[in-house]
């Protein structure tokens, strides 16, 4: 019966591992391949840590099961090994993880820097943002500059508006200005592996570079009220020509019904 418990503690990590191995084939894994360069590197880091952690997980759980197994194999009246520990062992199992962890910490700094530190952003994004991505309860409002203009922080009369859909060109880094009109929200594009909170009062630039044309989901990842779960938008990545055409279409629609002036008034 005692051995049962050792096996018990061995058994479940095995199940867990099997589950993880099965996961990708069952769809319990990342939603598609990473859509951006950045996402690729983020996922690479994830896999690196996954490797380290899996080794640790197996090692520690094996050790736990083993000390139990070994104790279970011995008789009841067996005397316990009287020891207060071992400094050299402790030193080893402090220093080894210390190096591993320090390595992880340092190894990923550049990805973080590139994603967040403005001076590390790709050159192409420094000319300005293609759109403003404004969260509000419970939708995403997209504001493009008028064709041929650059995006200003304040709404301009010729600006073009759309809700819950952002069109950007494929194959080059683009930057958007993330804002919120009311409470805090978060821009989460799972296929792009990107996330950034939209904070009231701040204009936060987010850049991404999607090589492949397609539709990518955007959800909200910061609790923002009852409709938090339904802030669904999408990023349409397409060729530059298609984006231009889309802009022209937007402009036509908006000048026709006199919406432009209204919109300018509103801000």
């Amino acid at each position: 019966m005692k051995k049962f418990w050792a096996i018990f503690f061995w058994f479940w990590p095995v199940v867990a591992l099997v589950l993880c191995v099965m996961a990708p084939s069952q769809g319990w894994w990342f939603p598609g391949p990473p859509g951006t360069q950045m996402g690729e590197r983020i996922q690479g880091l994830f896999e690196l840590i996954l490797g380290i952690v899996t080794v640790t997980f197996i090692g520690t759980n094996f050790a736990l099961g083993w000390v139990l197994w070994q104790a279970a194999s011995k008789g009841d009246d067996k005397k316990a090994f009287y020891s207060h520990g071992s400094h050299s062992l402790e030193l080893i199992w402090t220093i080894v993880p210390a190096f591993v962890l320090l390595f992880i910490a340092l190894y990923q700094m550049d990805v973080w820097a590139e994603y967040r530190v403005q001076s590390f952003y790709p050159e192409e994004t420094k000319q300005g943002s293609v759109a403003e991505f404004m969260a509000r309860q419970f939708e995403w409002r997209v504001r493009y500059p008028a064709i041929g203009e650059t995006l200003k922080d304040e709404a301009q009369p010729g600006d073009l508006y759309m809700v819950n859909e952002l069109h950007v060109p494929a194959g080059r880094p683009v930057k958007i200005n993330l804002r919120t009109q009311d409470v805090q929200h978060a821009f989460f594009a799972p296929q792009l592996r990107l996330k950034q909170d939209a904070v009231p009062g701040l204009i936060i630039p987010v850049w991404f570079d999607v090589p492949k044309a397609g539709n990518y989901d955007v959800t909200c990842a910061e609790l923002c009220g009852w409709g938090h779960y339904k802030m669904k938008a999408r990023i349409v990545v397409e060729s530059q020509q298609a984006v231009d055409a889309y802009m022209r279409k937007l402009q036509e629609e908006q000048t026709e019904d006199g919406f432009v002036e209204e919109a300018a008034e509103e801000e």
Partner: protein, 610 residues
Amino acid sequence: MATVSPALHGHDHADSHGHGHHEIGFIKKYVFSTDHKVIGIQFLVTTLLMLMVGGALALAVRWQLAFPWENMPFLGDIFGLFRTEGGQISPEFYTMLFTMHASVMIFLVIIPVLAGAFGNFLIPLQIGADDMAFPVLNMLSYWFMWPAIFCFGTSFFIGGATAGPAGGWTSYPILSAIMEAAPGSGDAQTWWLFGLTLVGVSSMMGSVNYMTTIINMRAPGMTLFRMPLTIWSMFITAILQAFALPVLTAAGFMLVTDRLLGTVFFVPSEIIVNNAEPTVGGGQPLLWQHLFWFYSHPAVYIMLLPAMGMVSDMLSCMCRKPVFGYKPMVYSMAAIAGLGFIVWGHHMFTSGMNPALGMTFMTSTMMIALPSAIKTFNWIGTIYDGNVKFNAVMLNCAGFVALFIVGGLSGIFMAAVPVDIYFHDTYFIVAHFHYVLFGATLFGVFAAIQFWFPKMFGRLMNDKVAKVHFVLTFAGMNGTFFPMHLLGIAGMPRRYADPYFHTYLEHLLPMNQFMTFSAILMGCAQFLLLGNFAYSILFGEKAGRNPWNANGLEWSAPSPPGHGNFDEPPVCYRGPYEYSSPEAEALGQDFILQTSPPPAGVKKADPAHH
């Protein structure tokens, strides 16, 4: 020390106390008692009840995730808890559910069960004091729980099923600061904040008391490095409480005044929420996040360290072996506490914080895994080559170690900022903290309940039932929470009333249903614990003073100890973990109480010299 029959009023030594006291009425003795043991048991029972409440809320959350927008059985129709919705969970109600689930679990279960119940019960007993330094304060710290419970309850019920605290347990402004942001949350959110403040006051009173008691009321011979790790952990926890909690209390007041008095600490200007007038302001929402996590990160260690301490004690006893590396265990707890103060920013990696801060916080967060690693390996080292007693206490402790490893390791993913960009606010986080909070802490608590039960009530709990409880809970726990890692990887955001609204998450429904069934299994298993607890108080096997043959000072007192705890003022001669030591051998046993004078002719062993 032979077994002495447990006397409820072990009071033949009344005159050794400053005041021979007379008949105390029932109320003074069991209700408004200033006796730390009674207060500890009051805390324990209260928190177990709150565990049911929090668990019921969790099951409601799980119901919605498995069967979105379907009428809930039992709670929905029968009790009519939210009959207005026809038994259906509305999105607002879902928000209330997980907010209250987290608040109840954290503020009314985990924190009070560790510090309040076990801290109170064990500190004086383990250091050889007759009570806490400030018994009245101690009593107040229990009785401040009830107004807090009342406030939380009011906040939940005040507006029916559509109005409630709407901010999650983290209550980020300005969702929580501006009434219009969450229609209906008006008074509820305010009540919630009052509840939070009251819990804070209660814990603050407790922590000053614990620190004073541990510093100044130890029995003769109980040097710092002869204190059981439980005491060390309680001490360090109290320090964390004392220095981190006031910041949350202060921030809470600021949020309350933002809501009620028009202050603008967290409200920037010209924000238009829900078509209300634009705000005046100039405050910054990020300030709340910093202040909140400045407390709440140390708080996660407040929710873990005492369990770590108790598990160390219990493992040592159940393996009949000294704790592997006593001093490193102490230092690593101190290191966790110290580092715990400088890692709070890891909850804010994607919040728009300054990227330089992000790097700093990432490095310190990684470093906090080191002391945890020491502890983990030392626990395994403690079991190694021991004479292991495979009872429910031992199993729960081993479960603690196993699950803490999982929870801790998933923390490493999130500590890496780029990876956290993806994982922040997904179910990966939810998996992480349930592994550490439920997996580690609660398993530690289950073990501790069974271990110290005889000291509390003079009877043992049933080991067989406890084992079944362990297996079911362990299985249910893994079944519920392990898949959450995978959901997180699949990109399922947390706090979603209906994740399947998004096409890329639709296929996760069956997995969620499986998790819900596991959760129900685990919930049912808790009745075994409660039943065992209640049954054993009345009918359990009688225990003597020292049913586990343990070393601690508490085991030299009667079970249950009377008022004043010890028959005579105890004197401590050695460290707490001298199982199977030569001294013990000399007495022909594998343990030696800290109070037994050294047997003649045996070299004295003290872990302090290692």
